[in-house]
Symmetry: C2
Subunit: 153 residues, 2 copies
């Protein structure tokens, strides 16, 4: 990917992932259950939540982390993905074992910094879809972007 | 922990974690670099971001996932932690290797569902602090909560 600088970005631009990430049972059960989120509905053992979530689903934060992997592979910001904040994080549908996720990013706004002339904030709507093109996660993130250095092409 | 039902919760209530989670170098470098977020500033190898982040720091999503672990251990909601959304997610300070995180949760609002009489939404401000009691992450989450079943005490 050719690196994108602040002046290369404009509202309405869209970046979509070629990369697709599979959420497998092992990663739902092992990584997140063991490390972070020891709740029965991520381990397939049922429990008191059976009336709400009757199946094995990924933690919302698991979906978020997989999305981060897709963002890194999709958005070519020159200095990497450095967030200053996230709003409107929603999980409209559960992610299930075997789901394959892909990402759609739309630039909503580009705001040069008044304090730091070399940088600005890019507001991006990021929607994560499953293999049926149904949204499983939405968010709006503010990302740091940098101007092209003067000596660069 | 005694399970908390919708009618047990009220604005102003505070829950703080006894549990404290250490963010170690191995987990920053290995789990997140390998699995999710292959950016140089989480691997200690420097790179183009050196002018922005001059040290090894945890991914914001790593902090979020560690916070999830603390939430599960801190908030005694009867049916577990089931989010409907998150807003205002910010990382005011980096998390560094060796940092020990703890959690402060304040109930902001309790809204019974009109559609589902057995449940409601609890809005919670969650602040994750480091060992110097400096906030490293803030967010406001809407969580599902359930009324006490009639046959229960």
């Amino acid at each position: 990917m050719k690196p994108a600088y602040l002046e290369d970005l404009a509202p309405g631009q869209v970046f979509t992932s070629d990369a697709r990430a599979v959420v497998d049972v092992a990663s739902i059960k092992e990584i997140f259950r063991r490390e972070f989120d020891r709740q029965p509905f991520h381990s397939g053992r049922g429990g008191r939540k059976a009336d709400v979530l009757q199946e094995l689903v990924a933690s919302g934060w698991h979906t978020t982390a997989v999305t981060m992997q897709l963002i890194v592979e999709t958005l070519p910001l020159s200095h990497g993905i450095i967030r200053s904040g996230v709003d409107g994080l929603r999980w409209p549908r559960p992610v299930r074992p075997g789901d394959t996720l892909h990402l759609h990013c739309e630039i909503l706004a580009v705001t040069p910094s008044k304090l730091h002339p070399s940088r600005g904030i890019v507001r991006v709507r990021m929607t994560t879809f499953n293999q049926k093109d149904q949204p499983v996660q939405t968010m709006v993130a503010d990302l740091l972007a940098f101007r092209r250095p003067e000596h660069a092409a």
